[in-house]
């Protein structure tokens, strides 16, 4: 498939995602619905990985580029962020090691339990 066809496929999935999001009774990000949808299409073999090769490579390599506008948009909230800078940094700084610790220990515990079950 050429790049335009690939883009049509990706945009189509996103469009369906928006449609489903509009039907849901709760506020759920349409982009995540599109991701799950695409995952299902790939796993069921309806969409082949090679249908997505060229377009996705360009987007994956430069993914963070698409996050520049929201970042620049914070200019509007500069005052608010200055006031709360300490709180923002503490919240993000403290919770990251915590999430690491809890996740790692859960998985490690899980794996020890699985190994024991296999032996027993």
């Amino acid at each position: 498939m050429n790049v335009m066809g690939e883009l049509a496929l990706i945009f189509g999935v996103c469009l369906v995602g928006e449609g489903i999001a509009a039907l849901l009774p709760v506020a759920f990000p349409a982009s995540v619905i599109a991701m799950v949808l695409l995952m299902v299409l790939l796993l069921t073999g309806v969409v082949k990985e090679r249908y997505l090769q060229k377009a996705t490579e360009l987007m994956m390599v430069n993914m963070a580029f698409f996050f520049i506008p929201p970042f620049v948009g914070t200019l509007e909230y500069a005052e608010l962020m200055k006031q709360q800078a300490v709180a923002l940094l503490v919240v993000a700084g403290v919770t990251t090691p915590l999430v690491y610790l809890v996740t790692a220990w859960t998985v490690q515990g899980c794996m020890i339990w699985m190994k024991r079950r296999k032996k027993g």
Partner: protein, 226 residues
Amino acid sequence: MIHAMLYSPFFGLATSIVSWCVGVKVQKKTGLILCNPLVIASVLILIGMNLFHIPLECYEAGGEMIQLMLGPVTAILALNIYRQRTVLKEYFVPVVAGCFVGSVTSIASVYLLCNLFGLDEALTASLIPKSVTTAIALGIAESRGGIQGIAAAGVIVAGVCGAMFAPLFAKWFHITEPVAEGLAIGASSHALGTTKAMEIGSVQGAMSSIAICVCGIMTSVLVLFL
């Protein structure tokens, strides 16, 4: 003429792409995690607009076009998990358990700390998804009335913090299992951490990129119960 140029969508598009290229170059040259291309590019644009007194709305005409691509960029993350499907099948239980507990911990701890600091609802909503990858975090923040830019900043802080300290975390917390290390890196510091995880080892890298998608989906569902 200048006015017409400034208010053209090409202004936002061109400045974004140019500063992105500069950011990528700087990171390649220095090799520092802190020299994140996204941060460098955004800071360059902000400095430029401040210097020449260009209003934000000039940038936004082109910015909105780039932002429109956030949906497709999130959707193609599906490929990540598809490519790891064999590993995912093998470690299904630890992946689901780890990502679930990690997502709950992240949401609960951010929520509690934000309340402790007395942050308002918009700020809290922006920080809640800070452990998931930017594309998904922005979607979650938007759907909950948060500010996308602050959400992106929170995500970056978590990512840089995780990428820098991941090897130390493993030592401090006595994490010996590569699967556990990878999932923990992905759950706490998403794509930025995954780059580091890939340097540590291939199992860690694979697990970390699985955790990005799984935690992203779980977090977007879990926040509905908040």
